[in-house]
Symmetry: C2
Subunit: 301 residues, 2 copies
Amino acid sequence: MSFSRVAVIGLGLLGGSVGLAIAESLPDCATTGYDADPDVRRRAAERGLVGTVCATAAEAVAGADLIVFCVPVGAMAAAAVEIADALPADAIVSDVGSSKAAVGEALRGALPGATVIPAHPVAGTERSGPDAGFAHLFRHRWCILTPPADADPEAVAKLSEFWRALGANVEIMDAAHHDLVLAVTSHIPHLIAYTIVGTASDLEEVTRGEVIKYSAGGFRDFTRIAASDPVMWRDVFLTNRDAVLEMLGRFTEDLTALQRAIRRGDGEALFDLFARTREIRRSIVEQGQDDARPDFGRSDH
Amino acid sequence: MSFSRVAVIGLGLLGGSVGLAIAESLPDCATTGYDADPDVRRRAAERGLVGTVCATAAEAVAGADLIVFCVPVGAMAAAAVEIADALPADAIVSDVGSSKAAVGEALRGALPGATVIPAHPVAGTERSGPDAGFAHLFRHRWCILTPPADADPEAVAKLSEFWRALGANVEIMDAAHHDLVLAVTSHIPHLIAYTIVGTASDLEEVTRGEVIKYSAGGFRDFTRIAASDPVMWRDVFLTNRDAVLEMLGRFTEDLTALQRAIRRGDGEALFDLFARTREIRRSIVEQGQDDARPDFGRSDH
């Protein structure tokens, strides 16, 4: 059932983690890899992120039965074009991008006739680059597959099995619905975090030194997310524009309502919201999607 | 120089941590405590949060040379009134509230003639109640004192020494400036977190189950903050209204600019912001105000 040779295109946090996870969980599966940046290729070889680091993308995909694109979503089309002539006819083409409708179109457009099954493992850290990956990034995380309506069920089953082998739970979803769900659970949170960190950096009345010193009041949590890879996130917002703008509209409406409650001194409205948001945290912890310890366990207590 | 008997009024996360920190760092200092909730008093006695849990606030402050109010900021005035007749003449009155101008006024109003030196240790977790406190909550955190202009310098020095003994760094600041700084580094981050968790809970197109499953994309970070004590946070927004609304205005302006950039497909504007927000995270980690490990170290890697 499983793949015998996986090519990983892009060797940053996600690509490196895919390579290391395969080595740990699917030791019989050979891995090749490529990155457009020669420094990343060198470092990937030193860390052993994949079995063989290749000098070209075409070389990396030769003989592969699964190709996983792990490049920013805006770079998917160009990366796919590079391997078009070398792609084995029976290979499955997939990716790890955070927006799925646009990526599916890009890959299918660049690789006509190929078996394209887009995927998104909902996992990551604020780090990026070839030193950031680790083998169990995907454990207990969800990986969402967004196969087109006419996808080969066997290919979908095979890719599902692959992600389960790396430790993930697998869900199948329509690409448009994925993009709406992730706009809420990932894209808007990142946009808000980037915004507040930018706002705090630009104030005249409050110095940057003060923002840093007193960041333990809550702000520091946002700086972690706002330290994420800028190219990756630029591309996410450009490729998932409609869903992001839709969800941003809902958020802004709710924020305006709270602003009014503060202005009017409406403590009841504030309390009502603040009391019910606890419940969702409890469910997230119960379902193993976050650390149960206070403060994410980061304080040593 | 140090205090010989400290009374802690309110035995939740902060009050409990003050009591435990004194026991650990100032073992010669006696502690008494009181909480309006009898269940909290019982649990505080079981955990030994303070040396003596008293049945009334007046009893707790008898013979104390420092009183620390650790109740929600909206409850400060009423709590102070309860001890007015029992307050020793030479005692210093302080607190741990998150907004300082309103609390200073409330304490001075309720305790005319008393030596009131408000304070705010910028430390906490999302937990609350008598089981949440721990002795080293204040280590390497900043504690901001906001003495009135005519405060006795010796009282300020003595309170500074107390907080340093509990492991905190101490800063002196004007109450109004404190309220502006904390609006940015704490109050607005909490307001935004509560809002997005509320928004995500109320969607019809995306189920609550989906929000929980895919929360590792960034959303789960916000749910931690949004699990904080609702009474405490309601009171913060009601008592620091002007600074919060001012800073919320700046945030909203910046968010609107980003929204426009997304709508127009202006990748350069997005990249420029996303690239510069990394720097402030680096400084926060360098200055020991957050965990240097990826993902706050909460993943086991």
